[in-house]
Subunit: 309 residues, 2 copies
């Protein structure tokens, strides 16, 4: 890991904010904890994004949430009055589908994917021409029986060559048991959307994608290829899609061990930690072997807007 | 680990079988894969257990299955025509309850336990006077909502000082999310019934207790105290309950990494691996850093009965 040797700079006034904005042409944003908390936009989110657009900055949104497709994300942005195109959004579900296509080189129309996760994964696969099984199939909602599950009694689908696993709030024994059967086949690739152990919601911290993927990893005695932040698969896809000059890019996020690590290990010109999500100022300044320090940090993203005015 | 230096002896005739029986006064049996496979008794299970009783041997049954209570196990034995008392049975659910009582020293009538697992755990706790929450409570069967779950909206129960987690085929997001809330409290102990990643059933291998406990361990960033085989908590409880001479005890099981490890690390006089469960002859003879070799092995337990006749 390339350590951030200089102490992080807190953005506290107009001059620092202006200097920060001048340094970068492209901003990569994490979403939850940065732009909004669940279904509530953080203060001045719309205003700061509009300001950046007016300044000619390129905006890209990078989220480890795999439950929604990119299309569904554009609607979430629209509900906050923000006009964002599908092409500007990278979810860990989309990154997993890109990994299946560009790295594993599975063939659309031939190879199939078993999904342990919500609709955001299967929708992205479908757009690339891949048939997916599992996921939110309602036949998986019933209690598991080895002798009755339609996924076992007819045998496993021989065309399934990959499992993509992510957060699934419909997790049950049926889904875990059938997914394991596919993972027991050496020829089936094992892809995890993102390693996050938890996610914050309404003042609580709930089990994240990583906690489910690690359960499957333990039962199958296999390790997944993780696709979301901080994995470089995701960054490489973004840099290549937009032909970015990494030195003029800044990653903005609320987590040291995913967002800041993603920006630093990816060699981006800068990183901005916002304290409106999961991290504290103390953690931002701490030197740790587990995660890098950010180049800049700020209480919340919208403060840049109010400082610049 | 005390390695078994001599090559394992295969019991193949009456002389070896007789010598094996003469060596030990007490036999500790794993159940599934040794006495039965699921709901089917293995050949001559009833006969060999009756023979051992006639020879004055002490029989103890030690299972990592926490889904059934010891009382429920006596009924399973009875269904195969075998008369076994509750006191002869040690499940990982019972071992966990003993750990809560004797090691953690929680107070019955005051301290409560949150259970992630099936009825076998709560029933054993109840017999010791502990109130348990969670488990098979039907309010946990409904889809999870942070703002509607009765386990969150009224606040966590302040008297819960321990989580016991085990195999739960009713696993869902509601159970995982609420269990995590208790594990996020430093004062709440974290006990796992058993580490088994999988268990065999009807020609398949399905996710075991360990795969669920490891999910909770990952989301909470904590490690559980495991109670089932091969953990010594279980053996110490048994040795103490029966005042056993360990040198005259033999552990009989079908798994190298739990049953044989349990017998060898526990310093029992002998171990017998049966090949009617999950292991092969090749694995029994292999020298591995991960698990010990057995002292004796045999195709199936009932063969001792037919050889002796």
């Amino acid at each position: 890991m390339t350590a951030q040797k200089e102490a992080p700079v807190k953005i506290t006034n107009k001059d620092i904010a202006q200097e920060f904005l001048n340094r970068y042409d492209t901003f990569l944003f994490d979403c939850d904890g940065v732009l909004w908390l669940g279904s509530h936009a953080l203060p001045y989110t719309q205003e700061i994004l509009n300001l950046l657009k007016q300044l000619g900055k390129q905006l890209i949104f990078v989220t480890n949430n795999s439950t929604k497709s990119r299309l569904a994300y554009t609607k979430k942005f629209a509900s906050f009055g923000i006009d964002i195109k599908e092409e500007q959004i990278f979810t860990s579900g989309y990154a997993s589908a890109v990994y299946v296509r560009d790295f594993l080189k599975l063939q659309p129309g031939k190879d199939k994917v078993w999904v342990f996760g919500e609709s955001g994964i299967g929708e992205e696969l479908k757009l690339m021409g891949y048939e997916s099984l599992g996921g939110n199939d309602s036949r998986l909602d019933v209690p598991f029986s080895a002798s009755e599950s339609p996924f076992l009694v007819d045998g496993l689908d021989k065309d399934v060559n990959c499992v993509i696993a992510g957060l699934d709030t419909k997790v049950n024994y049926h889904r875990l048991a059938v997914t394991l059967q596919y993972l027991q086949k050496d020829t089936v690739h094992f892809v995890g959307t993102n390693v996050d152990s938890t996610f914050p919601q309404k003042g609580h911290t709930f089990p994240g994608a990583g906690s489910m993927i690690e359960s499957l990893a333990f039962s199958s005695n296999r390790r997944p290829s993780y696709c979301g932040k901080p994995n470089m698969n995701m960054l490489n896809t973004i840099v290549s899609a937009f032909n970015l000059d990494k030195s003029r890019c800044c990653m903005v996020g609320d987590r040291l061990n995913t967002d800041m690590k993603f920006g630093v290990e990816g060699g981006l010109g800068g990183t901005l930690l916002v304290l409106s999500g999961i991290e504290t100022e103390e953690r931002a300044l701490e030197i740790s072997a587990d995660y890098p320090r950010p180049k800049f940090y700020i209480d919340k993203l919208g403060d840049i807007y109010t400082m610049i005015q």
